[in-house]
């Protein structure tokens, strides 16, 4: 991987109409030209908002879940010849200026995956309940996937082309985050954690995941292991 490589930024967006424009403006202002927005069957004008920007717009005919949308974006980016793929949230909780730091270990060949960690970095305005659930997720990941990380279910990640080809997300909903760790371990991918800032705001919390989603994730994971 050369230093000239332009990363692909993949955004899975579901009902992000009010927040997507600002996210895309910041990304484009930061100079990212290869952006793929996957509209995951939104009921609002998410795709129309994305279409106003010089980005690729992909539409799921049905709402399948964040995992499915990310995998669609990753598959598309790979097809377009992406060497480095960054997954980015559409609701503005990630900071585009942190992308260079996130992809640096991949460009240098030090790692196959760079995982953003809000607990190494900053989690602004995080609520106590959310912090508790996320720490529980970290513990769960260490136990079940046996990968030592300080943060989990953080959507800010970077993958090399070969890692993206190996990590095929089959969990359509939120359990995909744990699935990524399983693939990392299975394929002996080298990963690093990079401190990132996650900005919680009234909007992101209003839209975002309920902490109860964690229960669904665990169920999806355990049942998913039984069905091959």
């Amino acid at each position: 991987v050369s230093a000239e490589v332009e990363p692909w930024v993949v955004i899975a967006a579901y009902n992000e109409e009010p927040r997507l424009a600002l996210t895309l403006e910041k990304l484009l202002a930061a100079g990212y030209r290869n952006v793929a927005v996957v509209d995951d069957g939104s009921r609002d004008a998410t795709a129309e908002v994305a279409s106003r920007f010089p980005v690729w717009v992909l539409r799921h005919l049905l709402n399948l879940g964040q995992g499915a949308a990310l995998q669609t974006g990753i598959a598309f980016a790979l097809k377009q010849g992406a060497e480095v793929i960054v997954t980015f949230d559409g609701d503005g909780q990630h900071d585009p200026t942190e992308i260079p730091r996130l992809i640096a270990p991949i460009l240098s060949g030090e790692a196959d995956c760079a995982l953003g960690s809000r607990f190494l970095g900053k989690a602004e305005n995080i609520t106590f309940a959310r912090k508790l659930v996320l720490k529980g997720g970290v513990l769960f990941t260490r136990l079940v996937s046996n990968v030592r990380v300080t943060d989990t279910h953080n959507g800010f990640r970077a993958l090399s082309r070969s890692a993206a080809q190996k990590i095929k997300i089959t969990h359509n909903r939120m359990a995909h985050a744990s699935e990524i760790y399983d693939r990392i371990r299975e394929h002996h991918l080298r990963f690093v954690e990079v401190p990132v800032t996650i900005r919680y705001s009234a909007e992101t919390m209003a839209k975002g995941q309920s902490s109860w989603g964690a229960v669904r994730i665990v169920l999806d994971l355990l049942l998913g292991r039984v069905v091959k």
Binding site: R52, P54, W56, V57, L61, L62, L64, A68, L223, V226
Partner: protein, 120 residues
């Protein structure tokens, strides 16, 4: 025959169903034959149990379960769990296939947004 009301209501339909599926086993397409046969057996066993309630109790006693009704209950629970798992895995598989289709269409129809800023 000295039937109770319950037996009069339930036994004849069971026999009819058994005859119907038995007939279909003989004339159905090979792909469905196994399913038909399974249904034929279920109707037949149910008809036999209704015809002679002591039969279920005898089988239950033979396998070490006290009452015939308990045997039926246990079989029902096992069948229910089997069915639940079967349909769960079916739905997971269907969802995965659906995902492939939706993804394929999304990638095929990917569009480039406006190159010039028109973001009002």
């Amino acid at each position: 025959v000295n039937f109770t009301v319950f037996q009069w209501v339930v036994f004849p339909p069971l026999v009819l169903l058994a005859l119907l599926d038995g007939y279909r086993v003989l004339f159905a397409k090979p792909t469905f034959r196994r399913d038909r046969f399974l249904r034929f057996v279920v109707w037949l066993v149910a008809a036999a149990a209704v015809f002679n309630p002591a039969l279920a109790s005898e089988v239950a006693a033979a396998v070490g379960i006290g009452r015939g009704t308990d045997l039926v209950l246990y079989l029902f629970v096992v069948a229910f769990l089997f069915a639940a798992f079967y349909f769960y895995s079916r739905s997971v598989r269907t969802e995965r296939q659906l995902t492939q289709v939706v993804r394929h269409i999304a990638v095929m129809e990917a569009k480039r947004g406006a190159e010039n800023a028109n973001r009002s």
